[in-house]
Amino acid sequence: MIDVLNSLGFEEVRILERFDCFRATTKEPTARKYGVHGANIFARKPHPGVSVP
């Protein structure tokens, strides 16, 4: 997802926070297996003059 945001020309792309949102659910083992977690992500659309595909 981060790569996609960067490829679209977004600026300041960053992950700010992560959340263990599947803890204590039936999907927790799957989440642990694949490293699935919630995340807060910020990105900014460039101002004019910067090419966005």
Binding site: I2, L5, E17, C21, Y34, G38, A43, V52
Partner: protein, 204 residues
């Protein structure tokens, strides 16, 4: 996160499954699901302000099923136009509506009729005339180009098979300099092709 959708994945079936599951969340939020719901989860796991959530209609907060907290990413300012993609029962949308105030606009888009009705009823109950909910899809947003200051979303884009189209739509509707405050699922491991064909895992 693996972003590519298998070419033979039945995207209509996936959309239908997603819609069915989240419609059931509205009707039966205390039912059996493989993900957390509700205000206690939102406060304990995701850092929402419990007092602020208590001031929202319980019908909306009970059906909250997000995976993170876009409101912790950055401020939403009075007078801004905010778009919530996949607004669900409206918890994040109503919070955004309060932050933008009467001079702003908080627009929710969702493909699930039950969610739209729930979010609309809660906005009316709170008297938030600046909140509007439209039926639509992340890959074809019912908004004008360059009309939005902030796009928020919470646990939705990971359910969209055509992610590149969805992100292209976000680029289109954002004003230059506009912010994406995205809460979503990330994976540390690359998924196999077989795993990415498993609709149960997509909806989970």
């Amino acid at each position: 996160m693996a972003i590519a959708c298998p070419v033979d994945l039945d995207t209509q079936l996936l959309r239908s499954e997603v819609s069915n599951i989240y419609s059931r969340v509205v009707v039966e939020p205390q039912g059996k699901f493989h993900f957390h719901r509700g205000p206690a989860y939102a406060a304990e796991f995701l850092g929402y302000d419990a007092g602020e959530l208590a001031s929202l209609p319980a019908e909306t907060t009970r059906a909250f099923a997000g995976v993170s907290n876009p409101h912790r990413i950055g401020p939403i300012r009075a007078g801004e136009t905010v778009l919530d993609i996949g607004c669900g029962a409206g918890m994040d949308l109503l919070l955004a509506g309060r932050r933008v105030g009467p001079a702003g606009k908080a627009i929710g888009v969702d493909m699930t009729v039950a969610m739209i009705e729930r979010a609309s009823a809660s906005a009316r109950a709170l008297g938030l005339a600046q909140v509007e909910i439209r039926r639509g899809d992340a890959t074809s947003l019912p908004l004008e180009s360059a009309s939005v200051d902030v796009v928020i979303s919470n646990g939705v884009l990971n359910l969209v098979p055509e992610k590149e189209r969805a992100f292209a739509e976000i680029v289109r509707v954002l004003k230059p300099g506009g912010r994406l405050q995205l809460g979503d699922i990330l994976l540390d491991a690359e998924l196999s092709e077989d795993t990415r064909r498993n609709i149960d895992l997509w909806t989970g």
